[in-house]
Subunit: 143 residues, 2 copies
DNA sequence: TATTGTTATACTCTATAACTATA
DNA sequence: TATAGTTATAGAGTATAACAATA
């Protein structure tokens, strides 16, 4: 156990926050032409991937409150990118489904996300970049 | 270039955000007995490390607005952990200096931060943990 | 004129509480 | 009774604009 000063710029909290800020900085200009924010694209990715999910299910996976999810889905619905559908079998639940336009935006967004991530990871070798993603995944998995 | 789905939980934005959430979850209970938040401890680390800094200098390093820094320093001053001092040579600037109590909290906080980081990094080997920190540092440095 | 600190203000993000409808 | 979605509201956190002191 060393007792070096551990300057603020070496702390994981600082590094994670600033990596995130930098990623957002790189990605948002690329998302803008698609007419969506990074947040909205994340929602499209979430609801467009795999079997249909309810709002609550989506909220749980994204780690946000269900009241927050209502507003997020409202935004996407207003843009015509998703629609709500009563879940067959449980009329309390609303499935969130991508419209054809939503599907197009999701696909374009996926490409753009790749590009932004590549820009962020540019200073790393391909191997180190993969290790970074794997390490973060392991650390988060433990939730 | 693969075109796999890149599920939302594999995106760097998601991973960075959730790693940060998890770190905060682990760290805050440890900070609480010290009477400070993680944010406040980061400030103490920033201003307690190296030569005295002005508020503006600190704000720039932390990546926050200077008006935000005013409020943050106010908090620490109210707790008696720092004091402001007019900078010799430029009377517009206020240096932020740790009080003896602030110094004590900073030292205790450093230990606690190490502990929280260790908890977060638990699933990784020591080598992978170091690689993670190094990779984040490289990626952020490019700012 | 420009910069530092400050205040007032507004905006974004998010959660809590209370309601409706379904189960 | 409990759950899903919704609404209204309030609390963080942060930034923009305008001002005083100093350069």
């Amino acid at each position: 156990m060393s007792s070096a000063p551990l300057a603020v710029t070496q702390r994981l909290g600082y590094l994670l926050k600033h990596a995130q800020l930098r990623l957002a900085e790189l990605a948002e200009p690329l998302y803008a032409p698609l007419g969506v924010t990074g947040r909205q694209l994340a929602l499209l990715t979430l609801f467009g991937d795999g079997p249909a999910r309810s709002q609550q299910d989506g909220a749980a996976r994204l780690g946000v409150d269900r009241t927050t999810m209502v507003a997020l889905v409202d935004e996407l619905e207003a843009k015509g990118l998703v629609r709500r559908e009563v879940a067959p079998g449980d009329r309390r639940k609303r499935l969130v489904l991508l419209t054809p336009e939503g599907e197009r935006v999701r696909e374009a967004g996926t490409e753009v996300t790749r590009k932004a991530e590549a820009l962020l990871l540019e200073p790393l070798s391909a191997e180190d970049a993969e290790r970074l993603r794997a390490a973060l995944h392991q650390v988060v998995r433990a939730e």
